[in-house]
């Protein structure tokens, strides 16, 4: 029971609840509840348990992913309880809010006593009080009461204590205290938890986060900042052994037509313009266009490859010896067909079933635009044509994935974070201790008995040592 001991003196400053069922009663019970350590422990543990859910169940996946893994029934429960997005459910947010209320109420209830004891402390305590403290002893020292008290005050001051003394006719009392900042630190931590949560709130209300899939050479409008962003270049650097060293995108900010800022961003080095941050976040192969396509042109009859050509994206190419003109007009990475609006689309971003749309003009007699599949060569025959076209390969167009975000709450979060670390550190390494000494003269006044006692709310071992050193010093007190 470390924690309650030091409140021996403070306890009487907490107003006693008045009997009856008036508003005061309700108020004090509410205060009691919201400031209670039991609630704090409950919240810490419940938050810890519920936070694990989201690390075990994949968050924010598509419905079919859950159904496949857990089944229909379980998925139903998941959505009901919010397990597919635990950290944004009403109940998780409420737990966080409760923790804030809890620590604020704790501050409200307990900090005034600490504040008061920083201003003034109880010096004049009774002798039984000293004798009842956890660490207590008595030492007889030579010297008059006043001189002994002076010596004690000097000793405590040398050790960095704040000292108060009272000299009465019968006895002198010396009070010494140190380390109140440890307790202030705890309360700084309590306040800053709320500051952090508030910062998060500001960010989620007034900030935004977006993911942009951007292609080289294209310009994108950023409505939130009223400017444009041009992606000049994307490339990957490699180590000697082939491992990736860095992903790089060169970006240019344009206001109207005028370039304002150009920067090459890498994973750990974003671009910031008008409080909007652009991060190198991922990269990949575009699913709706390619750079170059390699085509085998075969003779329909002999099945012999007549020609292998590389076609640039959406550029016509004439092959006069075969009497052909070709162009790649479209690409999908994962072929899908919507029979309602008769449109071809890519079912996913993965290159599962790649296909190109080829425009063919053959000797002015044939004009066709067939889809040609990488995995199913020769699926469709082009009537009247001498040739068969096979997609032998293609070089995908790479996109750069940019995370675009703005968070006006982030600085509030950093202030709160700094305070919480400072607060916890203070409370960990500084402990609050208080000592009282009563100096009672002998009958003849030449010698005095020092009754000394003290307590601390934690660090009992260190305080024990300190207490022993102090009592040892008492024996050799120079008066």
């Amino acid at each position: 029971m470390n924690g309650n001991r030091p409140t021996l003196v403070e306890r009487d400053t907490v107003p006693a609840a008045t009997p009856g069922l008036g508003w005061d009663q309700v108020k004090s019970e509410l205060l009691e509840f919201f400031a209670s350590l039991k609630l704090a422990m409950f919240l810490f543990i419940v938050l810890a348990i519920t936070a694990t859910i989201g690390t075990v169940i994949q968050q924010n996946e598509r419905a079919d992913v859950y159904i496949q893994e857990y089944g229909e029934q379980v998925y139903h429960w998941f959505t009901l309880l919010g397990f597919t997005d635990v950290y944004h459910t009403w109940w998780f947010t409420s737990l966080l809010a409760l923790l804030c209320i809890n620590s604020l109420t704790c501050f409200y209830k307990r900090f005034p006593a600490i504040w008061r004891s920083m201003q003034q402390d109880k010096v004049n305590v009774s002798l039984p009080f000293v004798k009842n403290l956890k660490y207590t002893t008595e030492v007889a020292v030579p010297g008059q009461k006043d001189r002994v008290a002076e010596g004690l005050v000097r000793m405590f001051a040398e050790k960095g204590y704040r000292v108060l003394a009272q000299n009465g006719a019968q006895e002198a009392t010396v009070y010494a205290t140190k380390g109140i900042m440890g307790r202030v630190g705890a309360h700084v931590a309590h306040l800053s938890a709320t500051v952090i949560v508030l910062g998060g709130l500001v960010g989620s209300v007034w900030g935004f986060q977006q993911f942009g899939v951007c292609l080289e050479g294209e310009t994108y409008h950023i409505p939130e900042g009223k400017f444009d962003l041009r992606v000049d270049k994307f490339w990957i650097d490699y180590h000697e052994n082939g491992a990736v060293k860095s992903y790089n995108s060169t970006l240019t900010v344009l206001e109207g037509e005028a370039p304002k800022l150009t920067k090459t961003i890498t994973v750990n080095d974003p671009l910031v313009y008008k409080d909007i941050w652009f991060y190198q976040s991922s990269y990949g192969n575009a699913w709706d266009r390619v750079e170059v396509v390699r085509l085998n042109i075969k003779d329909k009859k002999t099945d012999e490859v007549l020609h292998t050509v590389d076609l640039d994206w959406q550029k016509e190419m004439a092959l006069n010896d075969l009497g052909l003109k070709l162009a790649v007009t479209d690409f999908v990475a994962d072929f899908g067909f919507n029979s309602q609006d008769k449109k071809v689309y890519s079912k996913s971003v993965d290159h599962e079933n790649p296909a190109i749309k080829l425009a063919i003009w053959e000797r002015d007699s044939v004009a066709a635009t067939p889809w040609i599949f990488y995995h199913y060569p020769g699926l469709f025959d082009i009537k009247d044509s001498q040739y068969r076209f096979e997609l032998a390969g293609y070089r995908p167009k790479q996109f750069t994935g940019l995370q675009i975000s703005k968070d006006p709450g982030v600085n509030i979060v950093w202030v709160g974070s700094t305070l919480i670390v400072v607060g916890i550190t203070l409370s960990s390494f500084i402990y609050h201790r208080r000592l009282w000494a009563k100096i009672v003269p002998d009958a003849d006044g030449a010698r005095s008995v020092v009754h000394i006692g003290g307590n601390t709310h934690k660090s009992q071992i260190d305080f024990q040592k300190e207490f022993r050193r102090i009592t040892e010093r008492l024996n050799t007190l120079k008066t």
Binding site: G3, T55, A243, S282, V421, S459, I461
Partner: protein, 304 residues
Amino acid sequence: MVRSLFLFDMTFWLYLAALGLYVGYVFARRPSPLQLAPAGHPTSTGFNDGAWATQIGQVATIVTIFGLIMNTVALATRAYERLEHLGTFAPWSNQFEAMAFVSWAIIFGYLLFEARYKIKSVGAFVVGIGFIAMGAASLLPYRYQTAEPLVPALNSYWIYIHVSVTLLSYSAFAMAGGLGIMYLVKERAERLGKPSRLYDALPDLETIDELGYKAIMVGFPLLAFGIILGAMWANYAWGGYWSWDPKETWSLIVWLIYGAYIHARMTRGWEGRRAAIYAVFGLLMVVFCFWGVNFLLSGLHAYA
């Protein structure tokens, strides 16, 4: 590469020797007939170590110091190897190095503790934990032990401070866990009522309890600082300071668990046995956060 691995190996054997010596020390101690010290007195042991125990204790300390030096040199060599070949030096850039660093921090922390409180029997437990960390590292397959270049996501100066601070907090919690086990061993002996030699050689329960609490009070602010440094890094690298990715969520879970502990201590009944069990449980959670998450749960980082 081979050079640093050899040094890590030597560290392993030195720690094993140190652990053996500390255990030997505990068994060699003789209870003193004179029980002068008041209960809860930390330095006066009420013990007459006897010539044997004193000497074993001294050798144990010296071997531990040598082990720590070896560990330091191994980490420095690894840092040099990284710098030479890869351009960054943080000798805590993969699981193996991180474990070796944790073990370094535990032993360093223990030696500081021994210098201050002079309770050597704690070494039988805490040096044990440091040894286990080093041992687990050396059990990793060879390909985990070598220095690979950092993936781009980690290639940042943040790794120097964020990772080291977090690992230091783990080390403090590991010390607390070791003290928790020590408490339970002693408490069990006391409960059985048989005054065994082992029981007498350990410091009294109140002292162990208090030391465990102190270790957690060192780990708690360090972990808070480490998490916040991670958030700052994430904000700089990924465009958001908090994205509920399994690793960061688990470090928060661990922090919440210890948060419950420090507040529980202020209420009745959360000292001693319960606190000791809780500290061991906390250590298991730390181990999961450190190992389990890396090997069992999927990270969501784009480049991981």
